[in-house]
């Protein structure tokens, strides 16, 4: 999807937050990316290496916490982790459209200079 645009926004937010905290340099950016966010992790990491030059995060490392998709089966009244790209209940084999987790696309935290 929009890994480059998304990474531009992420770097923007990271720089704003680091500045607000009185920092001049970012050492680490930690993201939370859901399995169903539509973002390709490799493309996100590639975008980061290309875009960080000239920003406060130019020497920073990127940490990504991937969140597996968790869906809700209304028939079985249970949550289950999706194994592939579809949400199929492992018990009743019914597809679910109720995605409870896995759409995250967030900046969790930064490590900045003292």
């Amino acid at each position: 999807m929009h890994e480059v645009g998304i990474m531009l926004s992420a770097l923007d937010i990271a720089e704003q937050q680091a500045q607000a905290a009185g920092a001049t340099k970012i050492h680490e950016i930690r993201l939370r990316v859901g399995q169903m966010s539509g973002v390709v992790p490799e493309a996100l990491e590639h975008a980061f290496t290309v875009l960080k030059d000239g920003t406060m995060a130019e020497d920073a490392s990127l940490m990504v916490d991937y969140v597996p998709a968790v869906c809700w089966c209304s028939a079985c009244q249970r949550e289950f982790e999706s194994t592939g790209i579809f949400c199929i209940c492992p018990d009743c084999k019914a597809p679910s459209g109720d995605v409870r987790r896995g759409r995250e696309l967030e900046i969790v935290s930064l490590e900045v200079d003292e």
Partner: protein
């Protein structure tokens, strides 16, 4: 903006052919732009933790919520219509608006990379239409809709259709402030489209199978297609239509009218 789908650096977005400065911007945000930052400090410092916990698409999400509030205040039902290029979005909307007659006052915001061909086709219905030319950008975002909406005369409308840029990938992550997402699948595209592009189908509220008059000639396997849609999105409301023959269009029209009356029970 993205390398994956081939859209380069975004060109100037135009609303009805006008660039930003020439249009009325009631909902458009104040831009904040870059600040300088120095890199002189290269000493080895101990690190400090800064908790952020913020969505990366915050800027778009906030504007989308603002749009949504604006639409709700006007009792406007807003549908974001998405599909791949050539699935029949424009013809489908043209027919929908023609059929609607007096039952709902419709307007359209239509997004394309270039040309106002779709807007001209849609204007033949008599409905107000605003064309957003995105330049090279492969989706609409909440800011573009905010900039375009005043031009469509939202106070006089019941239903606003937003015809997104033809693309099954990129628009999926961008909330525009709509009430519902409508995804079209034409029979010419094959039964496995929902499996190939699950994100857009997964988060659709309504899936419309279009060009059903061509089913036989395309050897379209209806059951497999519907099963595939169900597999990716069992909650989606399904319609099967041909805008050309009118097949299925009346059921769709009634559904929209009903949605609007639920949306606005005062009327």
């Amino acid at each position: 903006m993205c390398l994956e789908c081939g859209c380069g650096l975004p060109g100037p977005t135009k609303i009805n052919g006008n660039q930003e400065d020439g249009v009325n911007l009631p909902l458009a945000p104040q831009h904040s732009h870059t600040y300088t930052h120095s890199h002189e400090d290269e000493h080895d410092h101990p690190h400090r933790h800064v908790e952020v916990q913020q969505s990366i698409l915050t800027a778009n999400d906030r504007l989308a919520e603002r749009n949504r509030g604006f639409f709700r205040a006007l009792d406007l039902l807003v549908l974001n219509v998405l599909s791949s290029p050539g699935s029949g979005k424009t013809t489908f909307l043209q027919k929908t608006i023609e059929l609607m007659g007096d039952s709902a006052r419709c307007g359209v915001i239509v997004g394309d990379l270039e040309t106002d061909n779709d807007a001209r086709r849609l204007r033949t219905t008599g409905a107000p239409v605003v064309q957003i030319s995105t330049g090279t950008l492969c989706h609409l975002d909440a800011e573009m809709v905010a900039r375009a909406v005043e031009e469509v005369g939202p106070k006089t409308l019941d239903v606003l259709f937003i015809e997104n840029v033809g693309n099954l990938v990129c628009p999926s992550g961008f909330d525009l402030g709509e009430d519902l997402r409508v995804v079209l699948l034409s029979v010419t595209e094959g039964e496995d489209k929902p499996l190939k592009y699950p994100p857009l189908f997964r988060f659709a509220d309504i899936v419309v199978v279009t060009k059903v008059d061509l089913s036989a000639v395309c050897e379209f396997d209806r059951k497999t297609a519907l099963d595939n849609i169900h597999l990716v999105n069992p909650k989606a409301q399904l319609f099967e239509v041909s805008a050309k023959t009118g097949d299925g269009m009346e059921a769709w029209r009634k559904y929209i009218v009903e949605l609007h009356s639920q949306h606005n029970p005062k009327r």
